[in-house]
């Protein structure tokens, strides 16, 4: 445990799943719980190779329900714990996630989206946006980062632990099968070397002392006997959520100031938007892109600000309007027309975006 897994910083060329394992290691995660599912398997593979060397632990559970609940158990007792899943596994894990919301358990979940609905493909999609932001029988009291590059995958894996433990909402890194499986260069680092301090973990259960003698026992229930009680609880969650919102929300707005058309996208599609915007600008078209980095809490004000001058929004996502719903919920009242470019379950190239924009502009 003494030796740091990464000294200073280091340029590497690896798959996204490996990046996540290194990110968690850099973030001093103590334990991973998980159940295999493509395309997130290699997070577990790398972690289970690396973990014992650094005094870390790994448990393969019997299913995703168990992976989620063991992760909650580990977190509640004070370990920096995480899990990863995808697709049908993400669906199943909503049950523990909803409990994590209610108890404000700072567990970290890595989601590598695959195609849906159902088993569909093991490859790629952005079809788990609704599920990851608002899944379960609740109100989506979660924090969801959507990454676009391996560098971000590393950065936000570390950040997820800090956000979770600081604000005590379950926190998600939402990537996808492309990011999981592809290799590209990035710099991994020891957070401390970058001045990033890891928020210390605290046990909720199992603190020192004899409960009832040295201190009151901790008694956790999430069950209420009356509607009125529940209403107060949910209002409390909502208030806490709104309070951390401005601090946590993140976005990227590129060339939006004078843009006539703004591409709205998130995650890996951002990469295509980026290329498209630079090509469109070269072609003299005033294009920009806006991208929420936190899908929850959504960067509402920054988005309203960024799109103000635009004549048109082009919604681009590898799903049938899942991001679009979040956007419309956020900017309702705006009259800027939104053109959909929905490609459920399939990648989107910069060429396609350029073509679409050109067809809209003329």
């Amino acid at each position: 445990m003494a030796e740091k897994p990464i000294q200073g910083e280091k340029r590497v060329f690896m798959t996204g799943n490996e990046v996540v394992a290194w990110g968690a290691l850099a973030a001093q995660a103590d334990i991973m719980y998980g159940y295999p599912i493509t395309p997130q398997n290699e997070i577990m593979h790398y972690w289970s190779r690396l973990a014992p060397k650094h005094g870390k632990k790994f448990l393969q559970t019997e299913d995703e329900i168990s992976a989620g609940f063991t992760t909650i158990g580990g977190t509640i007792i004070g370990a920096r714990a995480f899990t990863g899943t995808s697709g049908p596994g993400n669906t199943l894990m909503q049950e523990p996630m909803s409990m994590a919301e209610m108890y404000r358990v700072p567990a970290v979940f890595i989601i590598q989206q695959r195609g849906g609905p159902s088993t569909a493909t093991v490859i790629y999609s952005q079809q788990e946006v609704t599920l990851t932001t608002f899944g379960g029988n609740g109100e989506g009291y979660r924090i969801v980062y959507s990454t676009a590059t391996h560098q971000e995958l590393f950065d936000y894996t570390i950040k997820a632990f800090n956000t979770a433990w600081k604000h005590r909402f379950p926190t998600f890194v939402l990537a996808d099968g492309y990011q999981a499986k592809m290799r590209e260069p990035l710099t991994i680092y020891d957070p401390e070397a970058k001045g990033i301090e890891m928020v210390p973990t605290v046990p909720t259960l199992g603190k020192e002392g004899v409960p009832g003698v040295d201190r009151p026992p901790v008694h956790m229930t999430n069950t209420r006997n009356t509607e009125e009680e529940l209403y107060e609880v949910v209002k409390g969650l909502q208030a806490a959520y709104e309070e951390m919102w401005p601090e946590v929300e993140e976005h990227e707005a590129v060339e939006c100031e004078d843009a006539e058309i703004i591409i709205v996208c998130h995650g890996v599609v951002t990469r295509s938007a980026r290329v498209a915007v630079s090509q469109l600008r070269e072609a003299g078209i005033k294009a920009g892109y806006f991208r929420p980095i936190t899908l929850r809490p959504f960067p509402v004000e920054p988005m309203k600000q960024s799109i103000k001058g635009a004549k048109q929004l082009l919604m681009v996502e590898s799903a049938q309007g899942q991001l679009a719903r979040l956007v419309k919920d956020s900017i309702y009242g705006s009259t800027i027309p939104i053109e959909p470019m929905f490609r459920p379950g399939i990648g989107i190239s910069s060429e396609e975006i350029v073509e679409k924009v050109q067809s809209l502009i003329k």
Binding site: T61, I72, I77, G206, P211, P217, M220
Partner: protein
């Protein structure tokens, strides 16, 4: 002369009378557990998890850190805790629905992996909290809300033999037993052995407790006892099924 209440030391008095129905066996299982915790002097190390089912009513029962979980999910929560903090003593407390139906994958896999936790399962032959539906342990011919004409074994099988199943999947080092609230000292001793097994770290420990649910059985005291002692024991054999070898 002042007489004190005779209550396990680790029971939390501030939350008593507890929330269980009159004559509910949960109170007795928790008494056996309380006595075992007292005897082992582990109150400061125990983390107690209770399920959804009437066991949730125990979330504030002990002067012990406690987390109420979801229906069937107490086993993985306690497993997660124990894996992260092996110095804690994890107890997963659940009903027969939670353990043998919705959470059975967790129970059998915790058993198979030999998780160093203690699972205590209250077998009251019904889904108590939801108002008396058929449970995996409902007796043949027994009427419940979802077997209104009596449980038809040709349709829904025999009452689940939980400890037998767990015993079949565990290996040496594990402790598996079935006790009953009708024999409270024996039950307490079984729970104690289960906890000792966990402390020794030899393997998974599991105690099923035959228990009463007068509310859903619609029984008076006499019939409550006789259902427990005469009817249930026809299908559920009380005793130890697996004990860690002494010399391990």
């Amino acid at each position: 002369m002042e007489f004190d209440i005779s209550m396990p030391k680790c029971w939390r008095r501030e939350t008593k009378g507890h929330k269980f129905c009159p004559g509910c066996g949960h109170g007795l299982v928790l008494k056996a557990l309380g006595l075992a915790i007292d005897e082992l002097q582990i109150q400061d190390r125990v983390v107690f998890g209770c399920d959804i089912g009437c066991s949730l009513l125990a979330y504030d029962f002990f002067n012990v850190d406690t987390m109420q979980t979801h229906h069937g999910r107490t086993t993985p929560v306690i497993t997660g805790i124990k894996r992260a903090r092996p110095d804690r003593i994890g107890i997963a407390y659940m009903g027969d629905g939670g353990g043998y139906a919705i959470g059975s994958q967790h129970l059998v896999n915790a058993a198979a992996r030999n998780e160093r936790i203690t699972a205590i399962l209250v077998n009251n032959t019904v889904y108590g909290m939801t108002g008396g539906q058929m449970a995996p342990t409902t007796l043949p011919g027994m009427k419940t809300e979802t077997s209104p004409y009596g449980r038809e074994i040709s349709q829904t099988g025999y009452p689940t033999q939980g400890p037998e199943m767990v015993a079949a999947i565990t290996r040496e080092g594990a402790y598996v037993a079935r006790g009953t609230v009708g024999k409270l000292s024996q039950l307490k001793n079984m729970i104690k052995k289960a906890l000792e097994t966990q402390i020794a770290g030899t393997g998974f420990s599991f105690v099923e407790a035959l228990s009463t649910c007068p509310t859903n059985w619609s029984t008076n005291a006499k019939d409550t006892w006789s259902f427990l002692e005469d009817e249930m024991t026809k299908y559920f054999k009380v005793g130890e099924l697996k004990v860690p070898a002494k010399e391990e």
